[in-house]
Amino acid sequence: MAPLIQSLRSICIFFFLTASLPVVFADSVATDDFVKTLSAIAVLPSVQDRSPAPITDEAQKLYEKYQRAVYQIRVIDLSSGKKSVIGSGFQFTLQGHIATNFHVVSEAVHAPKRFKVEFLRFDGTVGELDIKAIDVVHDLAILQTKDGYSQFLEFGVSEFPKGTRIFSMGNPHDLGMSIVEGTYNGLLEKSLYRKIHFSGSLNGGMSGGPALDYNGHVIGVNVSTYGNQLSFLVPVDYLKELYASIKNIQGKSGAVSNWSEVIQNQLIDNQKGLIDGLVGTSWEMLPIGNAAVPGEMSDLFKCWGDSKDDGEELYQWTSLRCSSQDDIFIANDLRTGQVTYNYIWVKSKGLNTFRFYRVYEYWFSQPFGFENAKEEDVKNFKCETGFVNISGEHWKAILCARQYKKFPRLYDVNLNLASVDHYKKGLLAEMVALGVTQEKSQVLIRKFMESIRWKK
């Protein structure tokens, strides 16, 4: 029976994946061959990106004026001496503070003994950078060089009317500093944190570069792209906050020795806000089969529905899958912060109860993929199985958690529920919360379980 149902299952997963677009960071490692092949066309980014917006004088003027403040940021693998990651950054103080994305320098944060961070300036100078502050939730990092240049960018604001022309600078694929013109399309609110929707082409290597208004003020930091001119910027306000935080601690002690502690605290603060917010509101309830279940718990979540009623198969199913829109980058193989929950209503269409329960059990046995982390970062799951009574209905419940190795207060948590009072129908419910504390996960799971209602 297994292979047949497995194919069914994979179709379902396929729908889920296509519904939620994969996110790609605007950076990558360019190989020399790749640079050679692309170098001919890469000098003029607007030619290669088929942008409908023509190059204007404004872009040229801005580039001329501010290119000295924009840097290429390189993470160097100390054992080979080669670049491991490249991105962009920009100087925003006279003291040599340089902003970039956390994900650009994450390797050096996690393994400072194996990596160092360097900059490459417009004039070809290379220098070393210290990591001063990080904000993993908003994907920002502040670096500092002792060898600062006299020119720096000033902070602006991040709210404009939609359609305002804005400019993004960076060094795509190690091809040389470029400027991209695009359109400001508002702040994205349905997200774990606010982001600027930028209609323009960000490319690999531009991560961490500045986005400027026509006055040359920084409105945000390049962060990610979904391709096809759909890109995102981190609003400059978060950078201002992060900079304020280092100004506050300045003088106490120079270098942060334990970034893991910092990251853990930031994640805990972030999820506290997220989960307290979720638990504090009343949730939209959606009908599925004979039950009513939590739908979009807040506007951070989107739900997709799907169903199948195949003529040959003697059962039918309806599914609802809800997920928060974003995750938080911690390291190349570790992403966290996402909350996902889904439901599958399974109903017999001619199967006797024993046959039905074979199918039902199969669907119950399929775990969430948990591709967010690898063995280096998390321990094995531990599970507790039992019967739970929720508003007069009996459920088989399996609650599992795995601890993060570097952030021991954080867990990936997985709840699986199967209604078990009915002979030929049943509801499966699953909740996944990535990177949460025991306390917050229990608060969320308690409310999730207690919200589920069975319509008599």
Partner: protein, 342 residues
């Protein structure tokens, strides 16, 4: 007058030899002028003597070097293991249930006399013995199933049962050919298995008993198919994969033992207790091998939760179920880790 029988016995208590005496006196020793001549270097030339008296027998030690010892019939059963005759500690009166004969000692039928390294059981001809055991041939049950039509009736039931199982595990209406092919597969397996045992039986007994083997193997399949789901039910009710696995392994072990023991019984002359021992050990090996392979094959890191997801229809469920709060409290232990300070 009752005759005296002296049995020379091994450490295990089994008889090695015996001699019957009808005189009033039985002299025992290494010398050739004795009534019972014992070739044991630790026995004196004239070691001891058994005499008849009114109403009984006495054992007298004839100042032997190593002494004469008696294990009373009642004590003998318990002390058989450790009262092996050896260099005797003459300083002690009694040792391991043995009583030293100083001058003379009254003895009874069934007592064991220990001289040197030799053990003699003293028996009177009127000694009571256990009734004869029935000769255990191929048991009546196997005679019963050694019938062509019965064996094929069982095989046909298995054929249908395998089809029913296939039907239960499917979620579509399966074509008839699917049931036939599954049933035929099963039949071939059972026929080959029974054929091998028949061949073994033919080699040993010159008689194959094919129908008996066929019936027995088919019965095994039928019983296994019917009672194995009990393990699922048990694990589901207790929410414990360990219980499901233990129950499943136990059922499997018992049934495989019975299967092998049955085939050995039909095909060989091996004593029944050896049949059972061989069957139990063999099936235990299979089960242990299975369990070890299962755990050894488990990856050290599994990226997804290992869900114990067994579900069975709600017939006769009695578990009341925890409240959400109770469940969360119980599950708090999954967050506990060594050195985590919770």
């Amino acid at each position: 007058m009752e005759k005296v029988i002296l049995e020379i016995i091994k450490d295990s208590g089994r008889r090695a030899d015996y001699t019957i005496f009808s005189g009033l006196v039985v002299r025992i020793g290494r010398g050739y002028d004795n009534d019972l001549i014992i070739s044991d270097a630790h026995v004196s030339e004239h070691h001891c003597v058994i005499r008849i008296h009114e109403g009984g027998f006495t054992l007298e030690d004839l100042s032997s070097i190593n002494g004469t010892w008696v294990i009373a019939k009642s004590a003998e059963k318990n002390s058989r293991r450790f009262a092996s005759p050896g260099p005797v500690d003459v300083g002690k009166k009694s040792q391991g249930g043995k009583v030293k004969v100083d001058q003379s000692l009254r003895i009874h039928s069934g007592d064991v006399i220990v001289i040197g390294h030799t053990r003699l059981r003293f028996i009177l001809s009127g000694h009571e013995i256990e009734p004869a055991k029935l000769i255990v041939g191929p048991s009546a049950f196997f005679e019963e199933i050694n019938s062509v039509w019965k064996s094929w009736l069982l095989v046909i039931s298995a054929f249908f049962l395998s089809g029913a199982v296939e039907h239960q595990e499917s979620y579509k209406n399966l074509p008839f050919s699917k049931f036939i092919s599954v049933g035929i597969g099963l039949m071939l397996t059972i026929l080959v298995w029974s054929g091998i045992w028949s061949f073994v039986g033919w080699l040993i007994k010159r008689k194959a008993y094919f129908s008996a083997h066929l019936s027995w193997a088919t019965l095994f399949f039928l019983v296994m198919t019917i009672i194995y789901p009990l393990a699922d039910q048990l694990g589901y009710m207790t929410s414990s994969e360990k219980i499901e696995m233990s129950a499943g392994s136990f059922i499997f072990w018992i049934l495989i033992s019975m299967l092998i023991a049955g085939h050995l019984m039909i095909a060989t002359y091996i004593a029944r207790r050896y049949q059972i021992a061989v069957a139990v050990v063999l099936s235990m090996t299979v089960v242990v091998f299975g369990i070890v392979t299962y755990y050894a094959g488990k990856a050290e890191f599994i990226p997804v939760p290992d869900l114990y997801s067994t579900l069975v229809p709600p017939y006769g469920r009695v578990v009341p179920g925890d409240s959400v709060e109770q469940f969360l409290q119980k599950s708090a232990k999954i967050f506990l880790t060594k050195g985590n300070g919770h």
